[in-house]
């Protein structure tokens, strides 16, 4: 066999192993959710649906899930509005000190989430506004705003501004030319930013764990706290539903990437 073939076989074996590493913790959760026993043992001695039955009896998870969905949706909408306004101002008007302002708006990304969570907790205790839904919403919005601004300033940078000038020469008001000319061009970036922002908001634990109280928790925090006390596969059943949801999202992303001919570059959100 040639060196070339050996190299590619080794690379294929490695990739296969890496895929197992990536998928295994999710696959085992799905398997475990159908286990017939409360303790985790492999292979499971039998299969049952009792953990799903148990899950649907615990209304706390349902309420928390609903709250998380609502919170993520509202925070995403708010961050998109605030983020679009800020990105437009930064790219279109290039105000003095714009780089500094952008840096400031991006800075929450560097802050470890637990530090943000504790700082928010101390601050809200101090001013007596602890345990309000609005503080939770604003905290989520702050966390996801940098992602929106990063994505939208990049999209607006590539935008051909002479189109806006043409529109205003033809008599379009600023808001109308934004809606008719700018918005259609950045809508893909906005969609991707919205998906990432929603997922990030839905997965907040440390930034808000001190801001919620029993009975008003979000889903990941409810799960985290449940797992501190219990280790039965009820969480596996719930996780399986969340994995199913993630697979649907993945199929949606795939369809969007194919239709809009997007490269894998869009998954690189660290930039």
């Amino acid at each position: 066999m040639s060196n070339w073939a050996i190299r590619h076989i080794l690379l294929a074996i490695f990739t296969f192993g890496a895929i197992i590493y990536i998928v295994a913790p999710l696959a085992i959760v799905v398997l475990n959710s159908f286990s017939s026993v409360a303790y985790s043992v492999f292979p499971p001695p039998g299969f049952s649906l009792r953990w799903y039955a148990n899950l649907f009896e615990q209304s706390a998870f349902g309420v928390a899930a609903l709250r998380s969905v609502l919170l993520a949706t509202l925070a995403t909408a708010l961050a998109l509005v605030i983020g679009t306004m800020a990105s437009y101002a930064l790219v279109r008007h290039r105000p003095r000190g714009g780089e500094l302002i952008k840096g400031l708006l991006m800075s929450p990304i560097v802050l470890p989430k637990i530090v943000l969570g504790v700082a928010l907790f101390m601050f809200f205790v101090r001013i007596g506004l602890i345990n309000t839904q609005i503080s939770l919403l604003l905290a989520h919005t702050l966390v996801i705003l940098p992602y929106v601004i990063a994505m939208l300033t990049a999209a607006l940078m590539n935008f051909d501004w002479s189109l806006v000038e043409a529109a205003s020469d033809l008599g379009a008001r600023p808001l109308r030319s934004f809606r008719k000319v700018v918005l259609p061009q950045i809508s893909t970036s906005m969609t991707i930013a919205a998906i990432f922002a929603w997922i990030t908001s839905f997965d907040q634990v440390e930034s808000t764990i001190f801001l919620v109280r029993a009975g008003t928790t979000t889903l990941p925090i409810e799960m985290f706290l449940y797992l501190q006390k219990w280790q039965d596969p009820t969480i596996a059943a719930l996780s399986t539903l969340l994995i199913l949801f993630a697979i649907l999202l993945l199929l949606g992303l795939d369809a969007m990437m194919r239709r809009k001919r997007l490269t894998l570059e869009i998954l690189n959100r660290g930039q």
């Binding site: 605030i82 302002i101 802050l111 700082a119």
Partner: protein
């Protein structure tokens, strides 16, 4: 861009973002800083400002161990994620069927779509004494006794590298796609073998991607809370866990100074990696 540099409209557009930043970021951080100077005695916080907590962090061995462990975990996780992530990005780059490449990319990305609590829970099941990994090890005759893989440092490292793997793969992959193919052709025309071409052309030119991925992975690992809490079993005490428990025990000065140390470590890491990035791009 014929627009003049005037304030007014831009300020109006930036106002909501800046207001959010001040109310939910700057003001809380200032309150946080203030509590670092408070005194905590017999379960009570008092506002007589002092530097005792800072002094304790500088002199007490207990805190030094926590800080060093935090840095150790972040370093090891970054190295593991790079060791898995680089070949994986390379494989993804080498696949020349767009559909297959897109699906491998989405597969690598997919764990991000699932809550980190679910992923960490999956690892506790996978690595437990009666779990599949130990079952496989026994089946292969590699061990008789179950190997303790969870509720210790090993479990935390395996799971954290998994959580941050996508953040390493994509910057590296993106630096590979920017590579000029003619450079590698030139190298092989000049008689360089695969290894020589990789070592002298591909690796140096993808180093910026490696550094960018390492930066994200390292900084995120420093602040990781859920995974060490669930897989450390109380044996892996890193700064985020220490900050969490100090806050729960109303020992806010310790929580604040611990958080400040974490914040400074994250900032230094960002700056350090930025320098490295510039250096790797120049070469």
């Amino acid at each position: 861009m014929a627009e003049r540099r005037r304030w007014g409209v831009p300020l109006l557009l930036l106002a909501p973002g800046l207001a959010l930043l001040i109310a939910m970021f700057i003001a809380p951080l200032m309150a946080f800083m203030e509590y670092s100077f408070y005194r905590f005695r017999r379960g009570r916080l008092t506002a007589d400002y002092n530097l005792d907590t800072y002094r304790r962090f500088l002199t007490d061995e207990y805190y030094h161990v926590i800080i060093l462990d935090t840095l150790k975990v972040a370093t090891l996780v970054t190295l593991i994620a790079l060791a898995i992530g680089y070949p994986l990005a390379y494989a993804m780059w080498k696949i020349n069927r767009p559909g297959l490449q897109r699906w491998l990319g989405l597969l690598i990305f997919s764990p991000i779509l699932v809550s980190v609590v679910v992923r960490s829970y999956g690892w506790t099941v996978l690595l437990s004494d009666q779990g599949p990994v130990n079952w496989a090890l026994r089946g292969l005759g590699l061990t008789d006794e179950p190997v303790t893989l969870v509720f210790n440092l090993t479990g935390v490292l395996i799971a954290l590298a998994h959580v941050f793997l996508p953040f390493v793969v994509f910057p590296i992959f993106s630096s590979m796609t920017r590579l000029d193919p003619s450079l590698r052709e030139a190298a092989s025309d000049l008689g360089a073998g695969w290894w020589m071409t990789f070592r002298r052309v591909t690796l140096p030119l993808t180093l910026p991607g490696v550094v960018a991925g390492a930066q994200i992975c390292f900084v995120l690992s420093l602040g990781a809370f859920v995974t060490p809490a669930m897989l450390g079993g109380g044996r892996v005490l890193v700064l985020p866990l220490q900050v969490y428990s100090a806050t729960s025990e109303i020992n806010w000065p310790v929580a604040a100074v611990g958080g400040l140390v974490l914040l400074i470590a994250a900032l230094l890491a960002v700056l350090g990696f930025n320098r490295l990035l510039r250096y790797s791009e120049v070469r």
